[in-house]
């Protein structure tokens, strides 16, 4: 493993997204990964939950930031907070389940107990014993759960350990206009719980795929056209590539402007109440929508598919949770408009499960690619020379100027890797930041 100075120098000299060049070692190098845990995952806003998962006071979910277990809970006072899932006494996990509801988290080791607001409430063995064990009393303030900074945007709850850094809204920047469309168009709710599964792949492969990669669809997901589910390869090309600031990126696939919205008529009123006319017009043309919030939250409206005579899609959030340099745990949420008609909910859910998620026909293709890339990245670590990844697509394209209403650098056509280059510029900046 390289020492930190050597690593910083190698990153400075070889990570050159400006020229469309990314060295393969950065995907799985253990030293890179250790540095990412502190400088990328320790500093960025990380997605932890959707607000609909925390409907009631006392409800909580257990999630991970970087590799640290956290509790995301709605306190009895209604406020959503994120805490390190670690007892202040001896560091035992205080919530060992996936989710639940409680007024009090009780550490199973020594009974140290915490209110849903994070306050230390005493030990379970009771005050008489506590007085014997700690005749001087316990410093209740010092035993408050360690709390992350927690903010939300359009129902998406994020947390960060960077207590003094920029706000979530500033970090999302231009991406907000697009998140409004997909997550703010209506009251959205998570259906059930996230699917979870483990893929032996490095986290940046799927993150960059959702950020910038529309080109793979025609090949990796060629079954779509082979089975006549879409016509030709247009499903990957027609639309816009959007490079926003701060490492985020997305692609919008559109259908012809003279076609009515493919979203249900029953929802149009709610959409119109939540979006400005430009956002509403773009929503009305969406046939697919993919992107990534830096570093590891992807979002996707899958390409509409006809299910028993009706065209449906879903709304997916996807967390690429690293569990080591070459392995991730995937969290995959399916969301739907809470007030939408039953057919849209039922068929959209079925379509999501059949095409995405662990058994999904798209995801199977993708996991295969990401695993094999990861194996090759590991073998690249054993080479004296650099193995380069090619990120030049659209490098000389000029963004649209006035033809598109949304913010960011917007390119006509989805085949572009501008947002991928920005992802790695932002990544490099964080990795090389002093401290």
């Amino acid at each position: 493993m390289l020492n930190d100075d050597g690593l910083a120098e190698r990153i400075r000299q070889t990570v050159i997204p400006e020229d469309g060049r990314i060295p393969m070692f950065i995907y799985t190098d253990p030293g890179v990964y250790e540095t990412e845990l502190s400088r990328v995952f320790g500093k960025s806003w990380l997605f932890v939950a959707h607000v609909s998962e925390l409907a009631d006071p006392g409800s909580f979910v257990v999630r991970t930031m970087g590799e640290q277990s956290v509790i995301v809970g709605r306190g009895e006072d209604g406020i959503i907070r994120t805490f390190l899932n670690s007892c202040r006494h001896r560091g035992m996990k205080i919530a060992c389940e996936d989710f639940g509801q409680t007024k009090l988290w009780r550490c199973p080791y020594h009974g140290f107990a915490y209110a849903s607001t994070g306050e230390f409430m005493g030990t379970l063995v009771g005050a008489p014993y506590e007085r014997v064990a700690y005749p001087g009393g316990l410093d209740r303030d010092a035993l408050h759960l360690i709390e992350a900074r927690c903010e939300s945007y359009q129902g998406m709850i994020f947390a960060t350990w960077d207590l003094d850094g920029q706000s979530l809204e500033d970090a999302l920047g231009d991406l907000r206009w697009y998140l409004d469309i997909i997550m703010g168009r209506a009251e959205m709710e998570v259906v059930g719980v996230p699917q979870k599964w483990v893929i032996p792949c490095a986290w940046k492969f799927p993150a960059e795929n959702f950020t910038t990669d529309a080109y793979h669809t025609a090949t990796a997901h060629a079954f779509l056209s082979k089975l006549n589910l879409v016509k030709g390869v247009d499903f990957g090309r027609d639309g816009y590539h959007v490079d926003t600031n701060n490492g985020h990126g997305l692609g919008v696939g559109v259908h012809p402007a003279d076609e009515d919205s493919w979203f249900p008529a029953e929802c149009q009123e709610e959409y119109a109440a939540n979006l400005d006319p430009d956002q509403l017009a773009l929503l009305g043309r969406i046939k697919n929508f993919h992107g990534n919030v830096f570093p590891n939250l992807s979002f996707l409206i899958p390409n509409f598919i006809e299910v028993a005579g009706q065209r449906v899609t879903g709304m997916m959030l996807r967390l690429w949770q690293p569990i080591g340099p070459d392995k991730i745990e995937v969290y995959s949420w399916h969301l739907v408009e809470k007030n939408s008609p039953d057919w849209w909910k039922r068929k959209g859910r079925a379509m999501y499960v059949q095409t995405f998620g662990a058994s999904g026909m798209f995801d199977q293709d993708d996991t295969e690619n990401w695993e094999m890339q990861t194996l090759n990245s590991n073998s690249a670590l054993r080479r004296a020379d650099e193995v380069w990844m090619h990120f030049e697509m659209g490098i000389h394209h000029e963004p649209l100027r006035d033809e598109f209403p949304g913010p960011g650098a917007v390119f006509d056509g989805k085949y572009n890797e501008s947002a991928g280059r920005t992802f790695y510029r932002h990544w490099r900046e964080l990795m090389l930041e002093p401290g």
Binding site: C96, E97, D98, F99, G100, V191, G192, V193, Q195, K196, W197, V198, I199, P200, C201, T219, A220, A222, F223, K226, L227, A308, E329, H334, R349, A350, V353, Q354, G357, A358, S359, G360, M361, D363, Q364, D365, T367, E368, N369, E371
Partner: protein, 165 residues
């Protein structure tokens, strides 16, 4: 009296089905399902007792005869990358609990242990679960009218469910 003939008929049917899958004979396999089949794999979650640990609102599979047919058709193309070359699989189907035949249907539960190996690195995945079937009597045999599989992991330890359960 135990109806051994009926028990063997059910067991033989499910063992033969496993063989079709392990031999990638998907076109024959899909014919074992009724047109109105529900093929559902809910999500297992880790909860404190006595909360239920199965979530049915969404699943890992949520399929009909039509969508299973689409999955099979995809496997028949030359672009089903994730299973071409195919995984080596071996399905161990055991612990049969077979209900009485009622209205032409038999409720069956069994355990599935699916061994899966893909690639050449000496590794394999094990997928374990309980399967709950409704078998519909069809002539001398059965068709699968319903299958629900309760998997034994809250976070699946296989990179995808590109194999049928």
């Amino acid at each position: 009296m135990i109806d051994y003939a009926a028990r063997f008929a059910v067991q033989d049917f499910l063992v033969a089905e496993a063989e079709l899958l392990d031999q990638q004979r998907f076109d024959e396999w899909i014919e074992l399902f009724t047109d109105d089949v529900s093929y559902y794999v809910p999500i297992r979650v880790s909860r404190k007792m006595p909360a239920p640990d199965v979530v049915d609102e969404i699943g890992y599979f949520d399929d009909t005869r039509q969508s299973l047919g689409l999955r099979v058709a995809r496997l028949g193309t030359d672009v089903a990358w994730a299973e071409d070359p195919p995984s080596f699989t071996r399905r161990f189907v055991t612990n049969f609990r077979i209900g009485p035949a009622e209205d032409g249907e038999v409720k069956v539960r069994d355990y599935l242990l699916l061994y899966r190996s893909r690639g050449d690195r000496g590794t394999y995945d094990l997928i374990s679960g309980e399967r709950q079937h409704v078998l519909r009597v069809d002539g001398d045999g059965f068709r699968i009218a319903s299958r629900r599989v309760i998997l034994d992991q809250a976070s699946l330890g296989t990179k995808n469910l590109g194999v049928f359960l």
